[in-house]
């Protein structure tokens, strides 16, 4: 099957951003900022890199994806809908009672591999799956998107040590490095220092990219395939709220309610970009 071009993927990422807006209830809080900052990464994974098929969600050879920064799951819902894991109208039921689309990722949703939302846990789960692949002699990969603020969780570094110790070259972490967390700027509130250096010293191969440049994202994901004997991390510099003019780099939109007008404006921003 022909691989999609950069331009095609950029068009799809607009659809993903619109899909994120579909999941939002007017006037209710939603994690807009972090979902938008991950949108291009999620697009690249679902529409270019990962081996997966919505008609066969349990295929044992499928690549796995875990959204460890679970509060940004809206981007994943949009991608899963676009891929046909469930009908698009379901997006509108997000977070309503009984919906298959919960506030944070749950395995009740077709296409979701792990329950996350409690930060710091997804990388450990991913590494377990990666070990599973090796034991089972399968060559699927495990991709985990982490938040930057999430790296303060000690469990991440337990997982980092373990993944390196077990030489898990089928585990790829992607850090959505948007430099903002719930309470504001990371540098000001809780400085994480040299993220790339930290992963490197824990034995990971590191890549650093612009998380909104589709060409760079694809190049990094392809380069990771060459790595043997160590896990990889792609540090993706992103903008919280990217794609929506009033939300871009605005800490208030970590989890703010949107009015009807704001949603309309956001849609216009996305389609015109």
């Amino acid at each position: 099957m022909r691989r999609k071009t950069t331009k095609e993927l950029e068009e799809i990422s607009k659809k993903i951003r619109c899909g994120i807006l579909e999941t939002m209830e007017i006037g209710k809080k939603s994690h807009l900022g972090g979902s938008m900052s991950s949108a291009d990464l999620v697009t690249a994974l679902y529409f270019y890199k990962m081996k997966h098929n919505s008609k066969n969600p349990d295929d044992p050879d499928r690549d796995r994806f875990i959204f460890s920064k679970g509060h940004s799951v809206l981007a994943q819902y949009a991608a899963l809908a676009e891929c046909g894991y469930f009908p698009k109208p379901i997006l509108k039921t997000t977070k309503t009672l009984g919906s298959v689309l919960q506030g944070h990722p749950e395995t009740r949703t077709p296409g979701i591999e792990a329950n996350t939302g409690s930060l710091g846990q997804g990388l450990s789960i991913g590494l377990g799956m990666a070990i599973g692949a090796k034991l089972d002699h399968r060559d699927y990969k495990v991709y985990v998107i982490l938040g930057d603020g999430e790296l303060a969780e000690g469990q991440i570094w337990e997982a980092a040590t373990t993944a390196s110790f077990y030489k898990l070259d089928n585990l790829i972490a992607i850090v959505d490095y948007n430099k903002l967390q719930a309470v504001g700027s990371i540098k000001k509130r809780y400085d994480l220092g040299d993220i790339r250096g930290k992963f490197a010293i824990f034995g990971w191969k590191t890549f650093e990219i612009n998380g909104h440049d589709m060409k760079e994202i694809l190049q990094a994901l392809d380069s990771v395939d060459e790595i043997k004997g160590a896990p990889s991390v792609v540090i993706a510099h992103t903008i919280k709220g990217k794609g929506v003019s009033f939300a871009a780099n605005n800490p208030a939109f970590h989890n703010a309610p949107l009015t009807k007008e704001q949603i309309e404006r956001a849609k216009a921003d996305i389609c015109n970009s």
């Binding site: 944070h104 710091g120 603020g149």
Partner: protein, 320 residues
């Protein structure tokens, strides 16, 4: 019952600033959720006394312990209830409770209301976990007024405390004449036929249910327990002896919380038939508050129903 509604997390944030004006030894630690837990109010008022700990809750509990060990600082360690209890259980036990250090652990977003975040953020076990830790006092205020007084009382007490806050607005049932008594239950209505024991945000709901039942001719006793540990045994034993049966209701799981605590006490001396209303051994989910409270039976209508069922059971048991 008053008509105004205030979230107890907001009342907590404001009360903390009030008391911190007199008590200069109070500091606050938060794990990147200050805007949600409302410690942001404290951060605004006393920035030099606020310590951001990042998304690293286990470390935060240890830091609180270290600060408290100086005996010159009273730290409030605040985050979401799920992380303030489940995630840090060992740290709270060993670093704080075991040496009985004067740390106040505050769990915001207790129970169902979490803004539709779903299971990972809904604490249905926090009271059960903290109750099982020795040296821990567990307080679950009903409303903003009680929260205000509870914060003051916590600061006066020298020892570890777990204080539970709610995210959503809840009715205010107590006024400024209310007097929060440390470790003591509150009888909101005397009665002879049956007792409802409630805690936290379910007390306003239990009040509504009581009024409905009283209108129907049932003499219901209503007890509000703000403190689950140490629990007021006397008020419970008296209720069991005088009214026979108990319905407990909590915005929490039925295993190990208020219902569990009441059952433990009564089963040893004055056995009563107990119906525990709460979340029944399941993880939470996303949904509107109305839908979720209805699904888990935490409504005045369901309380009325369960009281009637228990009365019926009692009647059948004692009729020959």
């Amino acid at each position: 019952m008053k008509n105004n509604v205030i979230a107890t997390r907001t009342a907590f944030g404001e009360a903390l600033v009030e008391i911190a004006k007199e008590r200069k030894d109070i500091v606050v630690l938060d794990a990147d959720v200050a805007t949600s837990t409302k410690t942001s109010i404290f951060r605004e008022a006393f920035p030099e006394r606020f310590f951001e700990m990042g998304i690293a809750e286990q470390n935060m509990m240890g830091v609180a312990a270290g600060m408290a060990s100086t005996q010159k600082i009273v730290p409030f360690a605040v985050t979401f209830a799920v992380f303030a209890t489940k995630r840090v259980c060992d740290q709270v036990s060993i670093s704080i409770a075991y040496p009985k250090l004067n740390v106040k652990i505050v769990g915001s977003y207790g129970g169902i209301p979490t803004g539709k975040a779903g299971a990972t953020h809904q604490a249905f076990e926090d009271i059960a976990i903290m109750r099982a830790i020795p040296n821990m006092t567990v307080i679950v205020p009903a409303d903003a007024e009680e929260m205000k007084q509870a914060v003051k009382a916590c600061v006066k007490y020298d020892g570890p405390v777990y204080l539970r806050c709610i995210r959503c607005d809840t009715p205010v049932v107590f006024d400024e004449n209310y007097n929060f008594e440390w470790n003591k239950g509150v009888t909101l209505r005397e009665g002879k036929d049956i007792t409802i024991v409630s805690t936290g945000m379910m007390t306003p709901e239990a009040l509504i249910a009581t009024n409905i039942l009283v209108d129907k001719g049932l003499d219901v006793r209503l007890i509000h327990l703000h403190t689950i540990k140490p629990i007021d045994k006397d008020i419970l034993l008296k209720a069991s002896i005088e009214t026979g049966h108990i319905v407990t209701v909590e915005n929490h799981g039925i295993i190990g919380g208020l219902g569990g605590a009441v059952a433990e006490i009564l089963s040893e001396s004055e056995p009563a038939l107990i119906k525990r209303i709460g979340i029944e051994d399941t993880f939470g989910e996303s949904g509107s508050l109305k839908d979720l409270f209805f699904k888990y039976g935490l409504t005045s209508e369901n309380i009325v129903k369960e009281v009637k069922n228990l009365i019926e059971k009692k009647r059948r048991k004692y009729s020959c």
